[in-house]
């Protein structure tokens, strides 16, 4: 009897001791002088054409910080893997980032279908890998039970849809409304947002499988919609920029550009890209969209000026645009998160740091950040913009109005948020 008690006591004590010892995996990717981050994102293909600049922009910002002392003496490196916007490739590339490249954390993973698949396949939850500032607005990612290590940055698509619904209600009463959306969680998130806001479209939203919106398809869809409604209906486009371009070009061909008021979701409304894809400036003039960052052409904005400067010095050959702005903004948030986690850098530590201090981080965003112990939502609002023929996005109606809301049934409110001042030279000094 005595031996059994002694044995069980030893076992119990060892178990307790062993459970206190921190797992080695918690600071994988961190050395005394370096931090390795990773991202799986489209670099090639039609999505790559649009989003290909983002990882390079992040890296440029990290290089800038490295040149100015790094984070607590450590230099940040970014491993970039191309997933061509394909979920299965994202799954294998993300697994490679964890198993092969052994990165500390992921930052800026792109795409709804791609990332949701990659998250499960690469067992990110099991390995407690921080999944920072993902490049997608699918509200499902705010579910802490399913995505315990994920922090969003983009406002959710549901939020955007609710804001758009309010814009339509306030500015286009009585007009017919239609929607064309990508047929996956991204598009359906938007559709759901409109429903939550109480908006009913004149006909069921047209959903198209990702990658299948050809010119012929677009022409057919526009012809049908134009025939269905008199006046000047509002057409909401919830897809990627290459698809918005296809639809706008179809409108040009059918001379329907002035027939509709185009309301393009932020994912698909980058003016520069639209112009680069062959859409005429006269077509872009008047397109309504939403954003949470300042426009990349707004040279009066201190963040924009600073990022342009960094871009010129560390991202040679790349033209500054909204995607570069977004990438650098996320990188800036990342640096602040790494700083806030302290010198003893662990995965769990990084996650708690963002929960505790993240909502106060400085960034170019014109809307508030929502990270807390209970919320994984990043920016929680939008300002409404209207594009002009020069490709600039200016406040709709002339005055900047910031709307905030949630992904649920909460109302859309007007906010008087003012963002934190930019740290000197764009180099965070937080802790």
């Amino acid at each position: 009897m005595k031996r059994a008690t002694l044995a069980s006591a030893i076992v119990a004590t060892s178990a307790m001791v062993l459970s206190i010892v921190p797992a080695h995996a918690d600071s994988t990717g961190v050395t005394a002088t370096s931090i390795k981050l990773g991202v799986s994102t489209p670099l090639t293909g039609s999505a790559g054409l649009v989003y290909g600049k983002v990882p390079g922009a992040m890296r440029a910002y990290f290089d800038y910080i490295n040149a100015n002392g790094g984070v607590n003496g450590r230099k940040i490196s970014l491993v970039i893997r191309d997933d061509k916007y394909l979920p299965t490739l994202a799954a294998t590339q993300t697994t490679n980032l964890i198993l092969k490249d052994k990165v500390f954390a992921l930052v800026g993973a792109l795409g709804t279908a791609t990332h949701s698949k990659a998250y499960t396949a690469a067992a990110l939850a099991k390995n407690n890998v921080p999944d920072l500032f993902i490049n997608t607005g699918f509200s499902g990612f705010t579910n802490k039970a399913k995505y315990p290590t994920t922090f969003m940055v983009l406002p959710t698509y549901a939020m955007e849809a609710k804001v758009m619904a309010k814009v339509i209600k306030d500015n286009f009463p009585g007009q017919a409304t239609f929607m064309i959306a990508q047929d996956d969680e991204f598009g359906s998130d938007g559709v759901a947002g409109f429903t939550t806001a109480g908006h009913k479209f004149s006909s069921t939203p047209t959903l198209y499988p990702q990658g299948s919106m050809t010119a012929a398809r677009a022409e057919g869809a526009l012809t049908a919609l134009a025939a269905a409604a008199p006046g000047k209906p509002v057409l909401v486009l919830f897809g990627t920029t290459d698809v918005t371009a296809t639809i706008l070009k179809a409108a040009e061909k059918l001379e329907l550009t002035k027939k509709f008021t185009f309301l393009a979701g932020s994912v698909g409304a980058d003016a520069n890209t639209l112009l680069a894809l062959g859409v005429k400036p006269t077509t872009i003039d008047g397109v309504v969209s939403a954003s949470f960052l300042p426009d990349a052409k707004d040279l009066t904005d201190p963040y924009v000026k600073q990022f342009i400067d960094i871009n010129t010095k560390y991202n040679k050959g790349v033209t500054f645009d909204n995607y570069v702005l977004g990438g650098m903004n996320s990188a800036m948030l990342t640096v602040q998160a790494l700083r806030a986690a302290g010198k003893n850098l662990t995965r769990a530590g990084l996650i708690s740091a963002i929960e505790a201090k993240g909502s106060k981080f400085a960034s170019a965003g014109l809307v508030p950040l929502g990270w807390s112990a209970t919320s994984r939502v990043g920016y929680n609002g939008y300002w409404v913009s209207q594009l002009n023929a020069k490709g600039e996005g200016q406040p709709y109606g002339g005055k900047l109005v910031i709307y905030t809301t949630d992904s649920g049934a909460g109302a859309v409110e007007i906010s008087n948020f003012t963002r934190p001042t930019m740290p000197k030279n764009g180099i965070p000094t937080n802790s």
Partner: protein, 329 residues
């Protein structure tokens, strides 16, 4: 008359079983000594080797050129996913369903294919390869691009806390591949299997000696599809879910390429074929990091290597590396 060369004693089934078990046991031991990354890659090797086996059977042994193995893998993958996720069956049952459903599908396809020759068969299988995965967008139950989760569950508790998920994947895929390949090897060395060779080498003579060539081709299609289906199920197990983008046309081409490179007429090269497919992106990766280059270069290099290998194989070893070795005796 020259001596015909060494006379082989045919390996008995029992001997073969012993060899397979021995090999499996070696894999097990190896699996304990390597890291998660190698286990992950090893699982892909096993899966691809199985897929290549299906091609060797179909094209090498029954002479039917199909460009649509990826479609059959997709059928198996979806069948397995639906069984496990929707019907709630045990993962092993799911994998069996992958093979079975794909096999039945292959049987039907084979009946159609038997009427088609050369390029017409190639064209049909090509069309199948691009159109079948897109059906997932048409029927909501197939989950469109989101796909269906394929979860074989964590390793059994009795193996302990430290038994990684990747080791579990490796055990499942290696075991499944070994069992299936054993079955196929036995089939091909049996009396029935010898009729395959007869049909391949001289269909007219085979027909004249009473072999039902049409029936044989259909059977080959069915069996090959079953094998492909199982490999499809294993593949989506590794990525935790099936979706159309897991089975692009390029997969068919890569598998065919690997099969040609490592020997279309014999099963001896299938593992090597799997290794080649897994190794090439790795080699390309390390080449690029060594000599540097834009991300664009990184993207095109693996394709370049595969294609170059393919051409070299066709030009220098059209009958597989085995023949090349024989020449030097």
């Amino acid at each position: 008359m020259k001596k015909a060369g060494k006379v082989h004693k045919p390996t008995t089934t029992r001997k073969r079983l012993f060899l397979f078990i021995l090999f499996g046991w070696l894999l097990l031991i190896l699996g304990d000594r390597v890291g998660d990354l190698e286990l992950y890659q090893g699982s892909f090797v096993a899966t691809y080797a199985l897929a290549i086996t299906s091609i060797v059977l179909l094209t090498g042994y029954s002479g039917q050129l199909s460009l649509g193995q990826s479609a059959l893998m997709a059928v198996g993958a979806y069948a397995g996913a639906l069984s496990i996720f929707n019907a709630g069956w045990h993962p092993v049952v799911g994998l069996i369903m992958s093979a079975l459903v794909a096999g039945v599908f292959g049987l039907i396809l084979g009946l159609v294919a038997a009427r088609l020759s050369g390029p017409y068969l190639a064209g049909t299988t090509l069309a199948l390869a691009i159109s079948l995965p897109t059906l997932a967008n048409q029927f909501p139950i197939l989950g469109a691009e989101e796909g269906i989760s394929f979860d074989v569950g964590p390793s059994p508790a009795r193996f302990g806390e430290d038994f990684s998920q990747y080791k579990w994947f490796f055990w499942i895929s290696a075991l499944a591949a070994l069992i299936m390949v054993f079955f196929i090897v036995n089939l091909l060395t049996s009396r029935y299997g010898r009729t395959f060779k007869a049909v391949r080498d001289n269909p007219v003579a085979a027909q004249l000696s009473g072999i039902n060539v049409g029936r044989l081709k259909v059977n080959a299609f069915a069996i090959s599809s079953g094998v492909a289906g199982l490999s499809g199920g294993l593949l989506v197990m590794l990525i935790s879910g099936v979706s159309p983008s897991a089975f692009p046309l390029s997969l068919s081409f890569s598998l065919l390429g690997a099969a040609v490179v490592t020997g279309l007429y014999s099963l001896k090269g299938v593992i090597l074929g799997g290794l080649v497919l897994v190794a090439i992106p790795e080699i390309a990766d390390s080449l690029v990091s060594r000599i540097g280059g834009s991300e664009g270069f990184t993207t095109v290099l693996p394709g370049f290597i595969v294609s170059a290998l393919l051409i070299l194989a066709v030009v220098f070893t059209p009958n597989g590396p085995g023949h090349l070795l024989k020449k030097h005796h």
